[in-house]
């Protein structure tokens, strides 16, 4: 019976109940997807069976790499000796990245995305399922290789790849061509992992040297901190020749592999990671959305309770029990929430498809129980929130008689309304700040300019022919300039050389260091670097001893002890190459450029010396083209490439998109927050619209009286909107410090950041106020133009 009444009452006011349902469904959808996304972020690398006992080993010391913390280690060859003495270490695996990004099969080159040379133990830590081959034997023989399913498809199509030969071509990174036999095919790595190799080479026992990522599998109940200190000791023994001092002590660091995605922010990570900050921002957004949805529902319920006053009181007079009211509201709320859940369930799949399309995240997969739990929890909260104020505020105190007589006057719960709006403003400020910061970062990053493409890490054969390639390209009118550089833009360059500078205080040779970056003479041109003093590299210079040319950035100027760029120009300068057999010519500093970003904005600009090299260290080629002729430029690039280097596949990316990839998490975050802010504001506005509707309805008579007594439309509008403006202003005042605190915390994570300025708050506040007033005024205006005769007609 109650169910029938509730259904009928819901039907009677379709607009207001519709607003409730839409509000709850949107809130529920938003919260559900944030929760799923966060769960996904937290589940990184947990799919590996032994994840709990698998750790990445890194090391820092003031004796090497300036105490910089790298995700990989430069002396991987020492690991077997190192771990032999530590019984807690059960297994280790080293992953030496394949830098060439090219493999060869039957005279044809293929690009790879992420490849490693690994120890035979790889699959014992990272148990990526094998589709072909046996885990135990796949790396039994030296020079065996495992490829991912998609790479195998790419190279071999439907033919069986097992037993086929793949080779690492001779090139800059390999002195000779090396052949490998395919012994297995593995599944493509799951998205939620910090590594996604598409090829794994096993060169043989202990062939891995130099830079490699090192992972240890510890015994079941080993204490990682203890192991860490043992490793520190062992490493110090290896690297400190005689006595350990402050300067040469080595610190080992172990990090569980499942923590890497969110907590590791080292140099040379395998892939850009996310951060805990991002998770917190999303948690806050979800909480805000939840609170807004809850208070919206509560305040609408409260407002609408008046409509039912007579109905419920009459029931009580006719003998229903006191619990009647509670059960009625319980049933009504449950119905509303159930409708909303239905809508959410209907929306879920299309939304997920959208997510999958843009971010390759299938959030719904295997999460049925989680989804049910989230929905149930939120639904329960909603029902309670919707019930509480209604019962408390309206029905407990007044006597039956009074309730019947009383005009049904809409109640507005100020606290609820102010909470809602404050939160919406906070969220909007967050959106403004995050997008400003992201834009700032994108603008400031080197090459964030449009119209540059990069050929990352080209084969050394191509590097040899760079001048020919360059001159061919420059013949095309669409291409404006061409340069080559040591690394791809957006990556981390941390090579440091010792230097000698004229007039600088004598130091022990080799004890100072400065960041270096090799480039072709057109580098400044392609990236449009601005000169603070001096000039660019000269074309004709041939790097003969005594005649070398060096450009430095502003930070380097300061590191070298100068303030005025002019003063350092033409000082004698030379770099001491640590690479045996390579010497860099003595020469002069010829120019000072403004600081520019090679890597992400999370890092500060390092002092940097640019030097010109021909035929070596120029691993990546960058090409700028005129804005209007992108198509022609790319066409010419393709033609010239296939003319000159027919056997190599061309691989280029826009520099823009490289940076977008560096800022992937921030950009994703920006879009998510924007989405949730829009949802929140929409829900808020709907709620206010509902309230305005009820308020104007309950004030119809008053409006009529005022009109009869001479009030104009404007005066009525002002009267109705004044309260809302008052509440909005209070919300704004509440929101400002909250928002300031939140965005300030978030910005802490950036070395270069925008300054928070008042307009961000004013803009957000004004926008919310404007939207609300529009919604309210729509109702108020309808009331204001109403003919008073109608509202004053005898009751």
């Amino acid at each position: 019976m109650l169910l029938k009444y509730a259904l009928r009452n819901i039907k009677k006011r379709p607009v207001l109940n519709g607003i409730k349902i839409v509000g709850i469904s949107l809130g529920l959808c938003g919260i559900l997807f944030i929760a799923l996304f966060i769960k996904n972020e937290l589940s990184y690398d947990k799919q590996f069976l032994k994840a709990e006992n698998s750790y990445r080993l890194t090391a820092t010391s003031r004796a090497f790499l300036e105490n910089n913390h790298f995700a990989r280690f430069f002396a991987a060859q020492d690991l077997p000796v190192l771990t032999a003495s530590i019984p807690e270490v059960e297994k280790f695996v080293r992953l030496a990245p394949i830098r060439g990004k090219l493999i060869k099969h039957e005279e044809q080159f293929y690009n790879i995305q992420q490849g490693f040379s690994v120890d035979a133990t790889f699959f014992e830590l990272f148990d990526i399922p094998l589709l072909q081959g046996n885990v135990k034997t796949v790396f039994q023989n030296a020079n065996s290789v495992v490829v991912s399913k998609s790479l195998a498809n790419n190279i071999f199509g439907s033919t069986n790849p097992i037993g086929k030969i793949i080779s690492l071509p001779q090139g800059h990174f390999n002195s000779t061509k090396e052949d490998f036999q395919i012994s297995g095919v593995m599944q493509d790595s799951k998205q939620e992992s910090h590594l996604h190799p598409d090829i794994l080479f096993m060169p043989g026992k202990d062939k891995i040297k130099g830079w490699a990522y090192q992972y240890l599998l510890l015994k079941e109940n080993a204490n990682p901190e203890l192991v860490e200190s043992k490793l520190s000791l062992a490493l110090t023994n290896i690297f400190a020749d005689d006595i350990a001092t402050d300067k040469n002590v080595v610190n080992a660091h172990l990090m569980n592999i499942s923590a890497i995605h969110l907590q590791s922010d080292l140099f040379r990570e395998i892939e850009p990671n996310s951060t805990m900050t991002n998770i917190w921002v999303l948690v806050i957004a979800a909480l805000i959305l939840l609170l807004i949805a809850l208070s919206n529902f509560a305040s609408l319920n409260l407002g609408m309770a008046g409509y039912l006053s007579t109905f419920l009181t009459l029931n009580q007079i006719l003998g229903s029990s006191k619990r009647f009211i509670s059960s009625y509201f319980l049933i009504e709320n449950t119905l509303i929430v159930l409708f909303s859940i239905t809508i959410t369930l209907l929306l879920m799949n299309p939304l997920n498809a959208l997510f999958y399309e843009s971010y390759q995240l299938n959030l719904l997969e295997n999460n049925e129980l989680f989804i049910v739990l989230i929905i149930a929890a939120v639904a329960l909260l909603m029902i309670v929130a919707g019930l509480q104020p209604v019962l408390k505020q309206r029905f407990e105190k007044a006597s039956l008689q009074k309730r019947l007589q009383k005009d049904s006057k809409t109640q507005v719960h100020k606290a609820l309304l102010i909470t809602q709006f404050s939160l919406a403003i906070v969220l909007l400020v967050m959106v403004v700040v995050i997008s400003e910061q992201t834009n700032f970062a994108m603008d400031k990053a080197l090459g964030a300019k449009e119209n540059i493409v990069c050929l990352p890490l080209v084969h050394s054969e191509i590097q040899k022919d760079f001048s020919l390639f360059k001159s061919e390209l420059l013949k095309e009118s669409s291409i404006t300039s061409v340069s080559a550089m040591m690394d791809t833009p957006g990556s981390e360059t941390h090579d440091m050389f010792s230097y000698v500078l004229q007039d600088a205080p004598e130091t022990e040779p080799g004890s100072n260091a400065i960041g270096v970056f090799a480039a072709d003479y057109s580098f400044a041109e392609v990236f449009g670097l601005s000169f603070l003093g001096g000039k660019n590299f000269t074309h004709s210079n041939i790097d003969e001893p005594g005649n070398g040319e060096y450009l430095i950035n502003e930070s380097a100027l300061h590191q070298l002890g100068y303030q005025n760029p002019q003063a350092i120009i033409n000082k004698q300068f030379s770099l001491l190459s640590p690479v045996p057999g390579v010497t860099l010519p003595e020469g002069k500093i010829i120019g000072v450029v403004k600081d520019f970003h090679l890597s992400g904005l999370q890092n500060k600009v390092e002092p940097l010396v640019l030097f010109k090299r021909e035929n070596s260290w120029l691993n990546s080629i960058v090409i700028s083209y005129s804005a209007t002729s992108k198509r022609e430029a790319l066409l010419s690039l393709n033609t010239i490439w296939s003319d000159l280097f027919p056997e190599y596949p061309i691989d280029y990316v826009e520099v823009n998109s490289i940076y977008k990839n560096v800022y992937k998490t921030e950009l994703l975050q920006k879009r998510l927050i924007l989405l949730f802010a829009l949802i929140s504001i929409f829900v808020c506005t709907m709620g206010v619209l509902g309230l305005a509707l009820m308020i104007t309805q309950s004030r119809y008579k008053e409006i009529g009286i005022r009109k009869v007594n001479g009030a104009s439309r404007t005066e009525i509008l002002t009267l109705l909107n004044r309260d809302f403006i008052k509440w909005l202003l209070v919300s704004f005042i509440v929101a400002v410090p909250l928002a300031y605190f939140a965005v300030n915390e978030w910005l802490e994570g950036f070395a270069y950041k925008i300054t928070i300025s008042p307009w961000m708050f004013l803009f957000s506040g004004a926008l919310v106020i404007l939207i609300t007033l529009l919604a309210v005024s729509w109702q108020s205006y309808r009331a204001a133009i109403q003919n008073p005769v109608k509202s004053l007609r005898r009751e």
Binding site: D407, E702, N709, G710, V789, L792
Partner: protein, 221 residues
């Protein structure tokens, strides 16, 4: 002449047919008159009053108020006209529950954009005249029906209108209270205020110097 209605028609469409609320009404009202409009329920009394008070429009005919053609005026102009010359008294008093007696009286003055000191003087004057100074801080719900209607009349008078339109002003009152209100109207009329009242009661109608009878939207006499 205060106002003149000339061949006024008002109708609504119902089921494709015109239902007439007012049919060919002709009426002249001079300044200082006291008119009672009578007729059974649904005869169009209130509608006529609303038309005269410019709260409601009409479909055909002419209406001149102080030689201003009301039927041709824009809404804003019309508002100004009745703000200046007309006061309303209702059967259900129509006081605003949230405002005190004092504030209810002050309301029309607010919309005439008078200065605060002027408003104060005028409200004080009115409270004094109706002997309700002691009640000025009470809310309508704290007053008896007669007292509420007294405030209603005071509110209608405060902006010194030429014409008072009263829609069954005593309908909600007991006979003693009703007599008091009618006596008050009589006094006001003697002071020169034009009054048009709608009433069911023969007794009250007699206070008027002229009685207009309506039936089915048509004037009988």
């Amino acid at each position: 002449m205060l106002l003149q209605l000339h061949n006024i028609f008002k109708w609504v469409q119902q089921g494709g047919q015109r239902v007439f609320l007012l049919k060919d009404i002709n009426l002249q009202v001079e300044e200082g008159e006291f008119i009672s409009i009578m007729g059974p329920s649904g005869s169009g009394k209130s509608t006529l009053l609303n038309v005269i008070g410019m709260l409601d429009g009409f479909d055909e005919g002419e209406y001149n108020f102080f030689d201003e053609p009301v039927h041709r005026l824009k809404e804003k102009h019309r508002t100004n006209l009745y703000k200046q010359y007309i006061g309303f008294v209702f059967q259900a008093y129509h006081l605003i529950d949230e405002l005190t007696v004092y504030e209810n009286l002050e309301m029309p003055l607010l919309y005439k954009k008078l200065k605060s000191s002027e408003r104060k003087a005028m409200v004080a004057d009115m409270l004094d005249r109706f002997n309700i100074v002691g009640k000025k801080d009470l809310f309508p719900s704290q007053l008896s029906g007669g007292q509420q209607q007294l405030v209603g009349v005071a509110r209608a008078l405060i902006s010194k209108p030429k014409l008072i339109l009263a829609d069954e002003p005593t309908g909600n009152l007991n006979s003693q209270q009703g007599i008091e209100i009618m006596e008050l109207f009589k006094e006001l009329n003697e002071e020169g205020v034009t009054i048009i009242q709608v009433t069911h009661s023969e007794n009250n109608a007699k206070y008027g110097k002229r009685i207009i009878k309506l039936l089915d939207g048509r004037k009988l006499n």
